[in-house]
């Protein structure tokens, strides 16, 4: 069987190919294949008609790699072969194209934000006192990353805890000019009763 396959391949693999054409074909193949291509795969699937050595294909790939240095795509070697990829440096700029929705904020995050907005300046301990549960660092980080809260100093009590306040970005997001415009809480009698 192997013998026969070899014979057939030898028979098919008869055309000569110059470097320019070889490079065009290898490049095209790498761009249209839906998986990385090894030298063997390139030879079997795209260069079947041509008499060309593995070494020559490898040399051509090295040439192509050099030619794409610093461009918008680069030719990388991965486990199963070669493939064109966008350079790592461009990932941040390309990130805009693929957007993922962050999960909705938890009740803990919203309560913490509300307390900071209405009771600022406030320490983490005070928030925990009111909420009756610990405020995780993740919650503070989420709100800080979002630029909705900031630290504005330390409270001069033992431990000098950090004081949190809301930011102008917080007001912007909710289309407010001042904190006065935050909705009034339910009338006092509603929760004194």
């Amino acid at each position: 069987m192997v013998k026969l396959a070899e014979m057939i391949t030898d028979k098919i693999r008869h055309k000569d190919i110059d470097d320019t054409k070889l490079q065009r074909l290898v490049e095209a193949a790498l761009f249209i294949a839906d998986k990385p291509l090894s030298v063997q795969l390139l030879k079997r699937d795209f260069l079947i008609e041509y008499r060309v050595s593995n070494l020559r294909i490898r040399d051509i790939i090295i040439d192509i790699q050099a030619q794409y240095k610093g461009r918008g795509v680069e030719l990388n070697k991965v486990a199963s072969g070669y493939r064109f990829q966008t350079p790592a440096e461009l990932s941040d700029d390309l990130a805009h194209l693929y957007k993922e929705k962050a999960p909705k904020y938890s009740r803990a995050i919203l309560e913490t934000l509300a307390l900071i907005a209405y009771k600022q300046p406030i320490t983490r301990g005070e928030i925990e006192d009111i909420r009756g549960v610990a405020v995780s660092s993740q919650i503070i980080k989420t709100l800080t990353d979002r630029s909705w809260i900031k630290t504005i100093g330390h409270k001069e009590v033992p431990g000098r805890p950090v004081l949190y306040a809301s930011t102008p970005e917080f007001l912007d997001y909710f289309s407010l000019t001042t904190l006065d415009q935050l909705p009034a809480l339910m009338p006092i009698e509603d929760f004194t009763s």
Binding site: E100, K101, E111, I130, G132, E156, Y173
Partner: protein
Amino acid sequence: MPDSKAKLSKSTVPDKELVSGVMLQQVLPFALLRGEAIVEKPQDLFIPPDALEVILEMFEGPLDLLLYLIRKQKFDILDLPISPITTQYMTYVDLMKDIKLELAAEYLVMASILAEIKSRLLLPKQAVEEDEGDPRAELVRKLQEYEIIKKAAENIDELPRLDRDSFVAKVELAENFVPEILNSQVDLAELVSALQGVIKRTQAYEHHHIQKESLSTRERMAHILTTLKDAGIEQPYCDFSDLFTVKEGKQGVVVTFLAILELIKESLIECVQTQIYGEIRVCLPRQA
């Protein structure tokens, strides 16, 4: 059965078998079957039903069949010989019926149109009304219109197209690629309801003073602290008077003053006066 591999091979029909006259096409090879011409006289020649079916199914409809008959025999479409065309057309339609090809109504409609044209042509010339043109005109127009589209479809089929003649380049994203995360949306109402939830949960009602009025003081407190923090290490203080904005009027002054008092009470700021009647300076408390 190899017979079923019959191919319609218009171009290879030998010329000598084509009779170029108008009315005498008795031997019309329209296909080659294993190298032999198939002629349209089924009663004289055995045509394997499979092959015939393949051939007949190739027609897109009555107009296509008519065009085929006209083109094969090099009839002048503008001077359509209705009589032989009708005869041949009917032969095909009969064939289709014989091999139980699902015969569309359109083929029968065309047959009746042809018969009608034929009968009108047979009438003596004088009987034809003055303003009535050649009864073939409408059919000829339709045939020409259809042939244009038939050719256009063939042209479109030959256009270079994706995944057959040209392939789109596709490139993977870098391994370090992370899609942009869209921030979750929060509604102001959600914020209020979150806080009211907290208040409801709280056993003691010591936070009843949370109300709209106090907010401006609270906000001013945060503002003063920010100002002091931003003042930096070089000059970690602020003149007392600088904290007030005359533009805000009396109410603003009161709010600022209350904020300063509250900050002092909570030991968040300190006020210092270096000389009697000198400027009062506000600063953050010295670190312990």
